[in-house]
Symmetry: C2
Subunit: 213 residues, 2 copies
């Protein structure tokens, strides 16, 4: 179905251009005209895919989440649950310039989400999704089983272990975000952030980087 | 010196109006005209105090840092080093609506700092300042002494204790920021964030909330 692929590619191009505009001028600097110029397409082309500026901005936020999830899926594929957990928690720490730019766009969305319930919902769902995944992984790791998706193990361990995993998942994910924030502003660099995260994993009896297959 | 007070008050008014504009329209929506309208003063008045839009924006960032430091100074005054540490680490977690709006403006600055070295410098210095303070406090707490500023105790304990304090300070401060981020987007509420932080303090043998005099 070449037409479908085409459409997806064109939408992606527009979203990429949108991110560039957000980085240059902020979310409030977004207009169909600005995005069209950045993408090198007509305004009509953008209107064909997005009914409003707001819809385009929301789609840009959703695609940031999708990009992060794809990156996680790819990086975590080759490892067990500890490796998956490490990949999830260290994911926000930018290690390349494009990733730092991406983080800047993400903070622009965070800033705007306070006033925009639609954005808050997208970001909130992504955070909840990562939280649920981290809880599953931690429950699995702590029970000594391997691989994600063996929820039965979690159930066996009971509500107490689950509650412990919930607290631990929140602490680890929040730490990853807080370290990422420091890398974005240049207070520490990527390797320093990962070292701090690795130390925290070790302190909790988890293997930093996890175990690759 | 009433004139001096006047000037400071007028600058504050302008900066408050600036924050409102940033919250409404983002950093890229800032103009002398928009801030003048929000402050209910003339553009000339703003130009009297700030040579350029960029200077005003930088001053707004500096004043965010100053406000956070004043809040810390006030809240931490009545306690020992553990209380001061708790106040410092939990400081970014917003617990009122104005604080959430303030956090949104802070994220707008974070987002922009990737492309603006002047902002990165202000934010980086604030992060470094908080880090140095946390290290001093932790070193004091761990050595069993009381009160900030007894750096001699830290020196006695040697470089190893200091390095441990450095890692611990980074982990605690980053956790506070990551939890604050979740509160801003509504993924958890203020009390949940503080509970997670309290648990982490307890796990590290620190008293959540610290000890008040």
């Amino acid at each position: 179905m070449p037409r479908v692929v085409d459409h997806a590619a064109r939408r992606s191009e527009i979203v990429l251009a949108l991110w560039g505009v957000i980085h240059e001028r902020g979310l409030d600097g977004v207009s169909f005209r600005a995005v069209a110029e950045a993408a090198g397409v007509s305004i009509g082309r953008i209107q064909h895919y997005f009914a409003s500026k707001e819809e385009l901005i929301r789609e840009g936020c959703t695609q940031m989440v999708v990009a992060a999830q794809s990156r996680y899926a790819e990086l975590s594929r080759s490892g067990g649950p500890e490796h998956q957990l490490w990949t999830l928690v260290s994911g926000p720490v930018p290690s390349t310039r494009p990733q730092r730019l991406g983080a800047a766009v993400w903070y622009a969305y965070l800033a705007k989400s306070v006033a925009e319930p639609a954005l808050r919902e997208i970001i909130g769902a992504a955070i909840e999704d990562a939280g649920a995944r981290a809880i599953r992984l931690l429950t699995t790791v702590r029970s000594g089983a391997d691989g994600e998706g063996t929820d039965a193990v979690g159930a066996r361990h009971g509500a107490e272990a689950r509650s412990r995993s919930e607290h631990e998942a929140l602490a680890l994910l929040a730490l990853g975000d807080g370290l990422a924030q420091r890398v974005v502003v240049g207070a520490i660099d990527g390797p320093e952030a990962l070292a701090a995260l690795a130390e925290e994993f070790t302190r909790r009896g988890l293997t930093p980087g996890g175990i690759l297959d």
